[in-house]
């Protein structure tokens, strides 16, 4: 029977098939852990006298709470310090691999694992973090889980899960110059809504996906969760294999050949049935930015904050609930201090943040640096109040420095920080103040996400860089 990519990988991990609609018991190839969702799981394990079944299929990082400057000084915040101390002692007690603050492989959980070459096609990957969907870009089934499930995977290396329905999103056409993966996923979320993917594993396909680098693909899978789907998977290809090949945990010798043979079987068969299909033509796509307080509230950068009539028309066109959309629109207008019809390019910005598990990778930093280098050459100064550049992990930071990107950022006036989740969610000291407005390459523009009563506009790294030059939301060609 013809199967989807998701079904093939799922079937290869069934330990015990659920009967009469009960969930399947699924084997987990890799569990990623960090300091926030792991401590109570370890404690429960200890209290029950249980051990970690497969320390060799688990790895820990520190990212949500870690400082992104002065990292060798003592951590001032009591809760952050306690969480870091706890995860380190748990790693030691249970004999687990950890990359702590200051280690070159330390960083955001969804950046450091792919960088180490630990994510391969056809794997199952879990983590107590909803952005685990990132790793679907490799052709893996990767999803976020809760603390009890973290404990369950530590003890058994398995998880009870019901198979998901299948949705295919095809990005057809050729992506125009200056338009990026971030714009593609923001467009999708605005089209299907933040609940559009609920209950589905989304498979991303089409020419525009195939032409993306792994970094771009990860940006898209990463934000699958913002469209409501826990899994966002892509067919592995030469780009995927090339990315893995030179990394520390790439299979070697005969294992590489065997892996390649298996990986090349990982695609949706002709005739595989998808429960839902969405097609987006990217050939006319423009850079996308959010105006509101959920990731589905986005418009083209050349557009404006929508009017009531536009919200109603869009809800009708996309089959979204009109009343729900209108309520969210009203609330967001108030929170963001906007009147309908305000041009996005007239929105003044205080802080620019480039980083996070969505856009903290080397290609993102290069894209921003290319624009800021031109600004430096033209003698243009930073027009926002501050700009933070936060690489995804230590290796990305080192790579950027080897390419001289840090010098470009500093000359422009940006802060060159250490790796971590940072201002994406403000669990460390990197926050925006009440009323402060950010242009951010992260993934969530929820109320108070980046700091209490802060206002967030989600953008791509290119738009973030241009915005820092202009002081308001802008495209590179306007400022250079």
């Amino acid at each position: 029977m013809a199967r989807t990519l998701f079904q093939k990988v799922w079937d290869d991990h069934i330990v015990k098939k659920g009967e009469n609609g009960a969930p399947d018991l699924i084997y987990v190839d890799l569990q990623l852990l960090h300091e926030v969702t792991s401590p109570i799981a370890f404690e429960s394990l200890r209290n029950a006298g249980r051990r970690v079944r497969r320390t060799d299929l688990s790895i820990i990082t520190e990212d949500h709470n870690t400082p992104t400057c002065d990292i060798y000084s003592p951590i001032k915040d009591d809760i952050s310090r306690l969480q870091l101390e706890t995860v380190r002692s748990n790693a030691k007690e249970f004999g687990m691999r950890i990359h702590s603050l200051g280690d070159p492989d330390n960083g955001v959980v969804h950046a450091f694992a792919p960088n180490l070459g630990l994510i391969h096609p056809g794997m199952t990957v879990v983590c107590g973090d909803s952005h685990t969907a990132t790793h679907g870009a490799f052709g893996a089934i990767a999803f976020g889980i809760g603390t009890s499930e973290v404990e369950h995977v530590l003890a058994t290396q398995t998880i009870w899960q019901s198979p998901l329905k299948n949705m295919r999103v095809e990005f057809k056409g050729k992506l125009p110059e200056g338009v990026t993966a971030k714009d593609m996923i923001l467009k999708l979320i605005s089209k299907i809504g933040t609940g559009g993917g609920q209950g589905y594993a989304i498979e991303f396909s089409g020419e525009a996906i195939e032409s993306l680098s792994m970094e771009g693909r990860m940006s898209i899978s990463n934000m699958t969760i913002e469209a409501g789907a826990r899994v966002g998977i892509m067919r592995p290809d030469e780009t995927t294999f090339e990315y893995i090949k030179s990394r520390p945990h790439a299979p070697q010798g005969q294992d590489w050949d065997d892996a390649m043979q298996y990986w090349s079987t990982l695609f949706s068969d002709d005739g595989a049935v998808f429960d839902k299909e969405v097609v987006i033509d990217v050939s006319t796509l423009e850079p996308f930015v959010t105006w509101g307080t959920n990731p589905g509230q986005g418009v083209s950068i050349k557009g404006s904050v929508p009017t009531r009539e536009e919200i109603i028309a869009e809800a009708k066109a996309e089959g979204l609930n009109e009343e729900v959309q209108l309520q969210a629109w009203e609330r967001a207008l108030k929170y963001m201090d906007f009147t309908p019809g305000k041009r996005m390019k007239d929105v003044e910005i205080d802080t620019v943040f480039i980083g996070s598990c969505t856009n903290g990778r080397i290609e993102d930093l290069r894209a921003a640096a290319d624009i800021l280098r031109r600004a430096n050459e033209l003698g243009k100064k930073m027009q926002v109040k501050r700009m933070l550049i936060v690489p995804g992990d230590g290796r990305i930071r080192l790579q950027a420095e080897a390419e001289g990107l840090d010098k470009v950022f500093k000359e422009f006036g940006a802060q060159w920080r250490n790796a971590g989740c940072s201002m994406c969610l403000g669990m460390n000291a990197d926050r925006i103040a009440p009323g402060e407005r950010s242009a951010s390459t992260s993934n969530r523009n929820f109320e108070s996400r980046q700091g209490k009563y802060g206002r967030t506009h989600l953008v791509s790294p290119k738009i973030a860089a241009a915005t820092a030059i202009a002081g308001h939301i802008a495209e590179p060609e306007e400022v250079l």
């Binding site: 015990k16 990292i71 280690d103 070159p104 330390n106 003890a155 230590g394 802060q415």
Partner: protein
């Protein structure tokens, strides 16, 4: 996980509906690194502090292990901390005419019985507790009934959760009943699947770190606005 077959204990009437998980425990405590015995103290913290006559503040209900709640108990966020707070406080059983789905699932995993009664039976129990000096009631999971004084009221419970509570089996225990299948699966995993140990990296390197003022430039204390 502790078994429940027949549980007898003090029952506290919680005469309000739509008690959400934020009321059960504030999101503030989600940063905790330990359950210890700590979450019990934060159960209904705001209500306990602000309403002296709240049921859990009354002397006759100290040591309660059964909560007799109004409809739509524990709606809202999926936080497991709500279940932990109830269990850590000492509750073994919650009675209500309607529970939020996620909460009911989370409770089953933590050994907390969520028994569903008709609303008029909940009100009979409330009345009994109001008028009786003895605040103890009996929850019989085998017979699926609540006994209070000379009265009996039946309850519904998910059969799978009932089986697990009667036998004291948690999720991990149940999974480990299939350990042979897990071992068999592991024996067939291909050798090209990655392992985190022994650790491989691109080698040692020193990561530099700069100093920055992390305060917001529009924080009034910095004086810009």
């Amino acid at each position: 996980m502790q078994k429940i077959v027949v549980h007898e204990g003090i029952a506290a009437p919680l005469k309000r509906s739509n008690v959400d998980t934020d009321q059960i425990i504030s999101a503030l405590y989600m940063k905790a690194v330990t359950r210890g015995n700590g979450f019990g103290d934060y159960l209904f913290e705001y209500i306990r502090k602000n309403e002296p006559d709240f049921v859990l503040n009354l002397p006759e209900y100290q040591g309660a292990s059964v909560l007799v709640a109004g409809p739509d108990f524990a709606t809202g966020s999926s936080r497991e901390h709500a279940v932990w707070a109830l269990v850590d406080y000492g509750f073994r059983v919650i009675l209500s005419s309607r529970f939020a789905d996620i909460f009911r699932g989370n409770s089953g995993k933590q050994g907390l019985l969520t028994a569903q009664l008709e609303q008029h039976d909940i009100e009979r129990i409330w009345e009994y507790l109001d008028n009786s000096a003895d605040k103890s009631i009996v929850v019989d999971l085998e017979k699926q009934e609540v006994r209070f004084g000379d009265n009996v009221a039946p309850f519904q419970v998910d059969p799978y959760i009932r089986y697990r509570l009667l036998n004291g089996l948690d999720d991990i225990d149940i999974t480990l009943q299939s350990e042979d299948l897990i071992k068999e699966f592991e024996s067939k995993r291909p050798s090209f699947k990655p392992k985190t140990l022994p650790a491989k990296t691109s080698g040692d390197a020193k990561v530099e770190s700069e100093h920055y003022d992390t305060r917001s430039p529009i924080d009034p204390s910095v004086g810009i606005m």
